[in-house]
Symmetry: C2
Subunit: 369 residues, 2 copies
């Protein structure tokens, strides 16, 4: 009566043994139906819940997934990872897993945290974000057979130095959103509205994510017959930020007078939006008049809350879907892996999920001059 109900106390009350109660919960098919019912009603009656630590001590599984909080990217973006985390937490919870947070100053520190979390708390898996070329984290985890998924493709070239190690190491499970597809959709949407001089306002060449988004714009433009030298002129790369976006947009408008901007981020788009609106004097959603003085259309990327707030069209990542897929990939690894076993060597290649973003159309791309 005193203290929390335990497997033994439930067993006594139901006149069975410990193990039978355990089986009722973990392997019901082994228990005779009438015994099942009886034990279950006792469980409900006393409100029994298994003790996680005790179970973990025996099974070597914690049912907990680790996630590193990024050091708060102080931009308009950054909310993306937070939203992903929300979705992940929700999805994990319904599948019987929990999310544990940790922080680290850099990748090296993150690996140190992996080590500690695995040794002391025996986390079952990790979700990695912000992957990049030559990511030491994926290598470390893969070498130790720790289940993990990355939100973001491994951007390493598919075939490294020929010895195949890199290829194997980067053949891990991942989920990502097709950025190129997003910008292409944006371009096509604008073309459908009659635009043809569509500029790309992105980051400097060299960031994989940025180049991917640029490539989508480029392909769509080229497909509609725009020449390469013209594309080069319409293609701008600046560091992320509202101010930078505004400056770059103004410069482009002076030189080439594009009728629309496709941007690599909402920050850049926000700057462009302000620049285009202040020059022409017409706010988003204002009336159309003739040809001159109509503000160019602007489309951002990531569909952050700010975009929603100011009526900025934006490419929206399916973050809930991404989180769901990430978890599915993780559970796949977890189910096939008994604590002591080695991870299977030749993994199926269908552990990659590339999702298509959608376009949230708002007033910043509804009108056309």
């Amino acid at each position: 009566m005193d203290g929390r109900p335990t497997l033994q106390s439930v067993a006594d009350r139901a006149s069975v043994s410990r193990q039978t109660v355990s089986n009722v919960l973990n392997a019901p098919h082994l228990v005779r139906p009438e015994t099942l019912d009886r034990v279950r009603s006792v469980i409900d009656e006393v409100g029994y819940r298994p003790h996680g630590a005790a179970r973990q001590l025996r099974t070597r599984r914690s049912q907990v997934i680790g996630l590193r909080l990024q050091p708060s990217a102080d931009g308009v973006n950054g909310a993306v990872l937070d939203r992903f985390m929300h979705a992940l937490t929700e999805q994990a919870q319904v599948r019987g897993y929990r999310i544990m947070l940790f922080t680290a100053p850099d990748d090296h520190g993150e690996i140190a945290q992996y080590s500690e979390l695995l040794d002391t708390l025996e986390l079952d898996a990790f979700v990695l974000t912000s992957t990049h070329r030559g990511d030491a984290r994926t290598r470390w985890l893969a070498d130790r057979g720790v289940p993990f998924v990355t939100f973001g493709r491994p951007w390493d070239p598919p075939d490294g130095d020929g010895d195949g190690t890199d290829a194997v190491a980067s053949r891990h499970a991942w989920v990502d959103v097709d950025g190129a597809h997003g910008t292409r959709t944006a371009v096509e949407h604008l073309q459908g509205l009659g635009h043809s001089r569509i500029a790309f306002l992105g980051w400097p060449v060299g960031s994989d994510v940025g180049d991917d988004r640029r490539a989508g714009w480029r392909r769509a433009m080229r497909a509609s017959g725009v020449a390469d030298h013209e594309l080069d002129a319409l293609d701008v790369g600046v560091e992320d930020g509202v101010a930078n976006g505004g400056q770059a947009a103004r410069r482009l408008m002076d030189l080439l007078a594009p009728t629309a901007f496709v941007c690599a981020s909402d920050s850049l788009a926000l700057g462009a939006l302000a620049a285009t609106r202040s020059v022409t004097g017409s706010g988003p959603g204002s009336t159309i008049d003739g040809a001159v003085g109509v503000a160019p259309a602007v489309i951002g990327f990531d569909d952050t809350p700010v975009a929603r707030a100011v009526g900025l069209s934006s490419v929206a990542q399916p973050l809930t879907e991404a989180a769901g897929q990430a978890l599915a990939l993780l559970l796949d690894q977890l189910s096939g892996q008994r604590p002591g076993d080695e991870p299977p060597l030749d993994l199926p290649d269908d552990r990659h999920v590339l999702l298509c973003p959608s376009l949230a159309i708002r007033s910043s791309s509804r009108i056309h001059g």
Copy 2:
């Protein structure tokens, strides 16, 4: 050699007993210095780390703190809680605690999660956000003697129905930011720049946080001799949102032509900023000319990334400090409480921390006409 190092394996290697190794880690003062050194060097050598689940099973403490993720407030705000969470995770980590996430559709569901998390994982404490009047969560936790802190004051009236239960229940540990102080500082800053007709753009009366911020503005205005009927005219309450902020600002400008706006959120401020700038045609930071046509100053609240991006002055909450204080209050409760003990009945009243926000001054409040 095989398997992870355990307390026993370290003990064997150092030619001492299990318990001595345990003491080296948990009660070094009980161990003779030379033994201490010897055992410690073995620990380092084999890389021993205590196993959390085993420890928890015995001590009934998990060293884990629970935090509910709010269902992603889809505004410009909401980032506030995310930033608080970042700080909390960081602070907890250096003190040997971890943050575990969970979600719930409402307060009732949140309580159900508490129950489950306490029974199965034995979380040591919880951090609550978004507290409100008659919050069932704090009551539930307090009744069960579960340590917790809220980020946000209990807004219940100090003396309930006279039976004292509410007063006791709400006398829990909390950390909050003095919103009134923030808006007062904003007003004083504006007055220092020569402003006198300063409007308040807030939420409808009835939300405790909003009324607090309103009160700060009101007090500062009254202190400088503004009559009450004038204050009522300068005081607007609308639902949060950029569009609402813009509309309300425009209306105020038509009626009363205030020279400055103090807002209850960055969303409202953003709307006001757009409205003031589009009417006069001068962007933030543009040149001053005479008296007519100069854009009113605008100050927001929460210092969200967007504010930083568009040059909006804003009242900044000290979130890192808040997280640190919250944890200090928690650890205070945790240290004084042995697993089986009852919580102390008469708690000290110094478990409330009210922090002062600071003002981030940017271009939206630098000029004055």
